[in-house]
């Protein structure tokens, strides 16, 4: 992936920046220019906001057959997390063994290395989730 392509998304990947619709109050992540509920009424009213990072596991999988970039990490847990603000996102779950993951589990976002561009390339960072202490 070209460096600018990752760099453009750093705000949301590092700090969980999403948007809140000024019309209906619904929160989206990543930021959207148009609210999926309000459509045109929301244009120009989408306010940036930072998610708390607290959420609940809605569903999960243990990935055994991984892309080259994740080969060293397999098996690893991926989950869809419902954030406190209502919006959902997809992320890796860490600091928990696969057999202890449960639907409904409380999790918290944390800052981690996501991957890198080959042996000597740029390192990508972003969010992963771990069980709430």
């Amino acid at each position: 992936m070209a460096i600018p392509r990752f760099w453009r998304e750093i705000q949301s990947r590092y700090n969980l920046i999403g948007t809140k619709c000024g019309s209906c109050g619904k929160v989206d992540f990543p930021p959207r220019a148009v609210c999926p509920t309000c459509g045109r009424r929301s244009v120009g009213k989408m306010q940036r906001m930072r998610l708390t990072g607290k959420g609940t596991v809605v569903t999960y999988t243990v990935v055994h057959d991984a892309p080259a970039q994740f080969e060293m990490q397999k098996p690893y847990v991926m989950a869809i997390v419902q954030m406190e603000e209502g919006v959902r996102l997809t992320s890796q779950l860490i600091d928990v063994s696969p057999e202890h993951v449960k639907i409904g589990m409380k999790v918290q976002a944390t800052f981690r290395k996501l991957g890198q561009e080959g042996e000597a390339g740029v390192i990508h960072y972003g969010y992963k989730f771990r069980p709430t202490a």
Binding site: P30, M78, P98
Partner: protein
Amino acid sequence: MRDVAVIGVGETEFGELWDRSFRDLGIEAGLKAIQDAKLRSEDIDAVYIGNMSAGKFIDQEHVSALVADYAGLADMHLPTVRVEGGGACGAIALLQGRLAIASGMHDIVVVGGAEKMTDVSEVQAAEILSSTADQEWETVFGATFAGLYAMMARRHMYEYGTTREQMAAVAVKNHKNGALNPEAQFQKEITLETVLQAPWVAEPLGLFDCAPLSDGAAAVVLCEMQKARKFTDTPIRIAGSGQASDFLALHDRRDLTMMDATVVAGKRAFQEARLEPKDVQVAEVHDNFTISEILAIEDLRFVEKGKGGPATADGLTALNGKISVNTSGGLKARGQPVGATGVAQAVEIVRQLRAQAGKRQVVGARRGLTHTLGGTGATAVVHIFERGD
């Protein structure tokens, strides 16, 4: 809108076809369909090609002109269109071909679908398939295509009590059907134990819960209904079509155990055809993973929501069951050359409705349905076919 019928079908064998190129496959399927329709080249008005990712799989774009060229049609300077829509591209190409005739612009259109997937490594091929999910907000974090479907499966198990055995029953059934299809990639029956004991791909999906990587192509000839009767006694009419889209990323969808795009596309197709799910005897649905077929038969209302697992395990969707699903072997056993899928499904339904499906013939089949997905359900296409005689 003018009525449109299928008057010719053709497909290659599906599988790991090391000795065959993309062009070989596209042309074989196209020529078989043209021959089946007893057309002359000069009868053709346009060519539509469903292809997901020739750019990534074989480093070749502009495959619409390429296929027409190698099919010997270059001198006719036909309009050629390549359609992309993830795994649904073949079904969308079929819909576009239908619209071109229904509108009155064309009378006869060839619709093809093709993919050559084995010229790249398996890991690369899996990554290319994943690119139909959200690359910025799903796969970059480590989500795989199988992993995303696995998360739907896990949630379906949680909400409806669906079991691994019920999902495995989809693979067992489709391999059983595939064993009766001489063009299928896997013509061998498998047992429930084989599916359950296979290595994990993404829990709760194992290797036999996943459709294979394949090379292959399929084609149909579409014709305006009045004219169609000059070519065949059994034109197969397209009675209804529906296409729908949804959020690209799985996590943004309203319900993780249901594909709204399938529900809406199905409703639109049934509404146009003025038919109900009970009027259909045979269906080809998008079983890229076992859970996908369970979701499809529920979302198309062949069975009650949440009952797809038990229905499959009880044989309701077996050959000549309440509704025969994936008689070709489906993506699981017939194979999954992505771009070919939607067209190959139509080929199977046409054969069933013409009573030319050999050992896997559904008795008394008069109406059939195809259901095709793009990505993890951000696109769905449904076509309903019926005998026009």
